[in-house]
Structures are given as structure tokens and as C-alpha cells.
Amino acid sequence: MTELLAYAAARYNYWVYILLMLIGFYAMVAHGNLLKKVIGMNIFQTAIILFFLSTSAKRGGTLPIVGPEALAGGVAPAQLMNPLPHALMLTAIVVMVATLGVALAVLVKIYRRYRSFEEDVILDRL
């Protein structure tokens, strides 16, 4: 039992991302306010980005910047953080920004027509 707990505690980054993801999901499902749904959507995406980033960390690892000197002496991958998840998540953040921009623009259009962000009010005015 203690082994299991230690195993679970050692992987706290997963717990954090799962918790964040569920918070985002709850906000998307439970809130009737469309703006809050967008915020929930963002938390959801951020959770996945944090998941990727947490996997690149290494104990005692440092920045993966290598100069010509280091290349001559060989690179010790165990001492460098994995840069690939960072590069991937930069792209994912760009995607997230674009989605957010479109979502906000659509919300502006919805607000102009229904004068509200509340789902039940909008349903009444359909």
C-alpha cells in the first residue's frame, strides 16, 4: 500500500495535469456562461501543455543549449532537459491562441445578437 502511495506521489505531475484537465472540463460542462466555457477550454488545453512540459524535465538537468565546445567533447543527454516537448508545446500554444481568438470573435457575434453570454437567456431569445 505504501509502495503504491509512493509510486503515485512520485508522479505528482500527472495528478496536477489530470486535476487541471478535469477543472477545465467541469467549467466547460457545468457553466451556463459561454465566456466561462471558453476559460474552461483554455484550462483544459493548458493542462495538456503542462503535461508535455513536465515530461521534459530531468533531475539535475540543465538547459539544452550546446555550443561548439560541448559538441567537440560530446553531449551528455542525461544532463540536458529534453527540448522537443518545449518546441512542440510552443506550436500547441500558437494553436491555442488562434482558437481563443476565433472563440472570442464568435462570442462577440453572439453577444451582438442575443445581448447575453448566459446559455439559458440565449435559448429564451432564439
Binding site: 477550454m41 503535461f51 508535455f52 512542440l88 506550436t91 494553436v95 488562434a98 476565433v102 472563440a103
Partner: protein, 497 residues
């Protein structure tokens, strides 16, 4: 030689055209649509050239930036991706041609942004098809989705609400896909599809793999509108402007279906080493449920476009069913259905837009006297309806035939029955459309419109793509043998029954 760069050219040509549109539109607005349609046609021709080259020389690998895989991004054109590229770019080019005259008041004055988004959608769908890298696929998937969200939101009325729902659900789908890719990356340290396929068999019993596959399948299931994850689809297709639905409905979900097949067979190799979860059986049954549920829901609709949207849910079920059966005839049927469904749904949505423009509304009751007023359009609807039901010699018959053979060979009599029942359901909802279009007569005390005297076909710009798709459906049916034996036989993964 420029043709050595065919794999990147497929997404790059529409992308460059999309970038050129705003300055061109600023100078002369009239040039926007011809340029967009021309770029679409050029992309379709490039896709045909790519298919011819693949048939002649085999699979084409292209290393972007000169970086060798698995470090660099690899683009791959094989039988399946070249075939899907032809289907998507061909129907997409016709939809772009159609969108010019079909684009209504909501687009006027913003043609450059509208067609720019449409070309961006086409470019990213082709990017999804040619890429050999899982993360690259995610980026193209999201670019395609973001341009679809924006296109749907150009509509008036309830379109922004439909677009908002599409954004929220689509983002969840993309995020889950990304999470699945993350799990695969953590297990293997690579994102290249071919490299993953080499490394994954050693990890076949891992539970992480099962979780990753679950995320990938659910994420792509949302994107392709697989029942019961189709929540965004009916509203988006119904309330988007007709020109947008005609573009998105035939091709966007097909690219996601292609991505699912690509990941399941080329990356995970599910036909070789199944994970602990009976994934393919589940997928096959999900497809079967989608066929029946989509069909039943379609029968209840009184709005032509909503009916067609639910019919899309049903027809996507056939593709998923074929993928889930995972034997050679079933896969050939599923891939052929990607082409067929793109063509018949394109044809029907083109006709729905033309009918809405000429007859006044999207409701089924508005279609009255359609066969007198728009005989050519009605003929195309009949051809597409026969294909949807699965009547020879239309293309739909042959894809369903292969699916049926696959179900029987796979020892799944119930699924074979579902395929037949799906055809019957399609017959019911398509005959409802045809009944209103061709058969409803003036009854006693009825104050409906009198039989019109003259014809009022849609403008040639809308009619030509419609007729092209109508004839295309017949052509695919008549020449299905060369398509199957020349292309699709090789598209199914080797080592399959």
C-alpha cells in the same frame, strides 16, 4: 524539377493562394473567386499527378528541410494518401467553384477573407493527408478546424452559436488527440509514423498504449462526427451558409477518418498485434450504432440540410465500420466510401444550396415542384440518393458491397445486417426528400404554390459542379473495378486477410 516536390506542393499551393487573396481582393474584388477556384483546380490536378506518380513509381517520401526522419518531418504519399488527396482536393475544388455564386449576403464585401479561409481549410486537410508525423498531423488538424469554425461563424442567425459549440467540442477532440500523441511520444521518444510503427510492437501489451489509443480514437471520433460524439455536426451543417456547408461537409470529416485509418493501421499496426482492449470490435460496433442512429434521426428531420447532416453521421458510420472490421474487403469498402460519401454529400449539399436559392427555403416542404423547376438538379439529387441507398450502378453500391463482403468474411452476420438496414434507412430518408421534390401534388383546398410554368435552374456556376459530381458518382460506380484493383487493393496494409 518542380514535380519532385509534389508532396509539399499539395498543401502549399492552396496556402500560397490563400495568402495572395487579400492583396488581390484589395485591387479587384472580382478576381478573388476565379483565383480561389483556379487554385482549387490546380491542387486537384497536382493530386492526380501525385496519384499517377505513386502508381508508376511507388511510395514517395519527402524530407522537409533535408532533415532525415525520424528527426525531421517526413511527408509520405502512398496509395492511401494519394487516393484520399484526390478525393478531398477534387470535391474541394468543385466546392470552391460552387461557392462563388452560392456565397450569399453574409459574405459580400468579405470575399477575400472567405475564400482565404476556404483555401486554408483545403490546404490543411491536404497537409493532414500527406504528413508522416503525428504532431504535424495535429497542427494541420487544428488549422483545418480553426478555419472551419471561422467559416461556420460567417453565417447569420444561429450560425455563431453552432460555431461556438463546434469550437468547444472540436478543441476537446484536438486536445485528447494531442494527449494520445504525448503518451505515444513518452513511450517511444519519436513522433514519426514509420518509426513509431517499428517501435510499438515491442510495447503491444503496455497499458499506456491502450490509454493512448483511447485518447487518439476519441479525439478523432469527435473531429469526424462519430455517433455519439457528433454533437457539433447537425447544427454546424444546418446553420452555416450554404456555400460553407457544401465545402466542409463533404471533405472535412473525411480527412479525420483518413487520419484514424492511417494511425490505426500504419502506426499502431492493430491488424498485427491487437492491444488488450478489443479496440477494433468496439470501433466496428460504434460504426454500426452510428449507421442506425444517424439514419433514424435523419428520418425525423423536416429541414433538408439537417436531414443531410444526420445522414452524414450515418454514412461516417459505414467508414468506421469498415475500419473496425479490419479485413481487406472491408477496408477497400471504407476507403471507397470516403470518395463516394465526399461526392454524394457534396452533390446533395450543392443541390440543397441551389434549391434554397431558387425555391426559397431549406425545409422539405419548400422543395415542391422541384422536378419541374430544376430538372437537372433533381436528376443529380436522384443519382446521389440512389448512391446513398446503395443501388447499382452508382458508386455507393460498390463501397457497401465491399463492406458487406468484409462483414461476411469477418464472420459478423449482425454487422452485415446493419449494413443492409442502413441502406433501408437511407432509402426512407432519401425517398422523403424525393417525395417532396417530385411527387407532392396540389390537393383539394391546398393553397400551396401552383405548378410553375418555367424552369429556374441554378446559375451555371452552381450547376456545373453539381452535374460534375452527379456524373462522378456514376463514373465511380461504372469504373469501380479499376479503382479497386489499381489503387485501393494496395492501400490496405500488407499482411491483411
Amino acid at each position: 524539377m518542380l514535380l519532385d516536390h509534389l508532396p509539399p506542393l499539395l498543401p502549399v499551393v492552396p496556402l500560397l493562394a490563400a495568402l495572395l487573396l487579400p492583396p488581390v481582393g484589395a485591387v479587384r474584388r472580382g478576381l478573388v473567386h476565379p483565383l480561389a477556384a483556379g487554385a482549387g483546380a490546380a491542387t486537384a490536378i497536382l493530386a492526380l499527378l501525385a496519384l499517377r506518380r505513386v502508381l508508376a513509381e511507388g511510395v514517395i517520401h519527402y524530407h522537409v528541410g533535408g532533415w532525415e526522419p525520424p528527426w525531421g518531418i517526413e511527408l509520405v504519399l502512398d496509395y492511401l494518401s494519394a487516393f484520399t488527396a484526390v478525393a478531398v482536393s477534387g470535391v474541394g475544388a468543385l466546392a470552391l467553384l460552387y461557392a462563388g455564386p452560392a456565397a450569399g449576403a453574409e459574405v459580400r464585401g468579405r470575399e477575400a477573407s472567405f475564400f482565404g479561409l476556404a483555401l486554408l481549410l483545403l490546404a490543411s486537410l491536404l497537409g493532414m493527408i500527406v504528413t508522416g508525423d503525428l504532431f504535424n498531423l495535429f497542427v494541420f488538424l487544428e488549422v483545418a478546424s480553426i478555419s472551419s469554425y471561422a467559416l461556420v461563424a460567417t453565417g447569420d442567425g444561429r450560425a455563431p452559436l453552432a460555431a461556438f459549440r463546434y469550437i468547444v467540442l472540436g478543441t476537446v477532440g484536438a486536445s485528447l488527440y494531442l494527449l494520445g500523441v504525448g503518451h505515444l511520444y513518452l513511450m517511444t521518444g519519436t513522433l514519426n509514423m514509420a518509426d513509431l510503427a517499428d517501435r510499438l510492437p515491442a510495447l503491444a501489451s503496455s497499458r499506456v498504449l491502450a490509454v493512448a489509443v483511447g485518447f487518439l480514437v476519441i479525439g478523432l471520433g469527435i473531429k469526424m462526427g462519430l455517433f455519439p460524439l457528433h454533437g457539433w455536426l447537425p447544427d454546424a451543417y444546418t446553420y452555416a451558409p450554404p456555400a460553407v456547408t457544401a465545402l466542409i461537409a463533404p471533405i472535412a470529416t473525411k480527412a479525420a477518418a483518413y487520419a484514424l485509418a492511417r494511425i490505426l493501421f500504419s502506426v499502431l499496426g492493430v491488424h498485427r498485434a491487437l492491444t488488450e482492449v478489443p479496440l477494433m470490435t468496439l470501433l466496428a460496433w460504434a460504426g454500426a450504432v452510428a449507421i442506425v442512429a444517424g439514419g433514424v434521426l435523419a428520418i425525423r428531420q423536416n429541414d433538408l440540410r439537417r436531414l443531410l447532416a444526420y445522414s452524414s453521421v450515418s454514412q461516417m458510420g459505414y467508414i468506421v465500420l469498415g475500419i473496425g472490421l479490419a479485413n481487406r474487403p472491408a477496408l477497400i469498402g471504407a476507403y471507397l466510401h470516403i470518395l463516394n460519401h465526399a461526392m454524394m454529400k457534396g452533390c446533395l449539399f450543392f443541390a440543397a444550396g441551389a434549391a434554397a436559392a431558387r425555391l426559397g427555403g431549406p425545409a422539405l416542404a419548400d422543395l415542391r415542384w422541384m422536378h419541374r423547376r430544376m430538372p437537372l438538379t433533381t436528376a443529380c439529387v436522384i443519382v446521389a440518393a440512389l448512391s446513398m441507398i446503395g443501388v447499382p450502378p452508382t458508386g455507393g453500391f460498390f463501397s457497401k458491397w465491399y463492406l458487406l463482403v468484409g462483414a461476411v468474411e469477418g464472420g459478423q452476420p449482425v454487422l452485415a445486417g446493419v449494413i443492409l438496414v442502413g441502406g433501408l434507412l437511407a432509402a426512407v430518408y432519401m425517398f422523403r426528400v424525393l417525395e417532396h421534390a417530385c411527387l407532392v401534388r396540389r390537393e383539394e383546398g391546398d393553397h400551396g404554390p401552383a405548378p410553375p410554368s418555367g424552369r429556374s435552374e441554378a446559375s451555371p456556376g452552381m450547376l456545373v459542379p453539381l452535374l460534375a459530381l452527379g456524373l462522378g458518382i456514376l463514373a465511380v460506380g461504372i469504373w469501380n473495378a479499376p479503382i479497386v484493383s489499381g489503387v485501393l487493393r494496395f492501400a490496405a496494409p500488407a499482411g491483411l486477410r
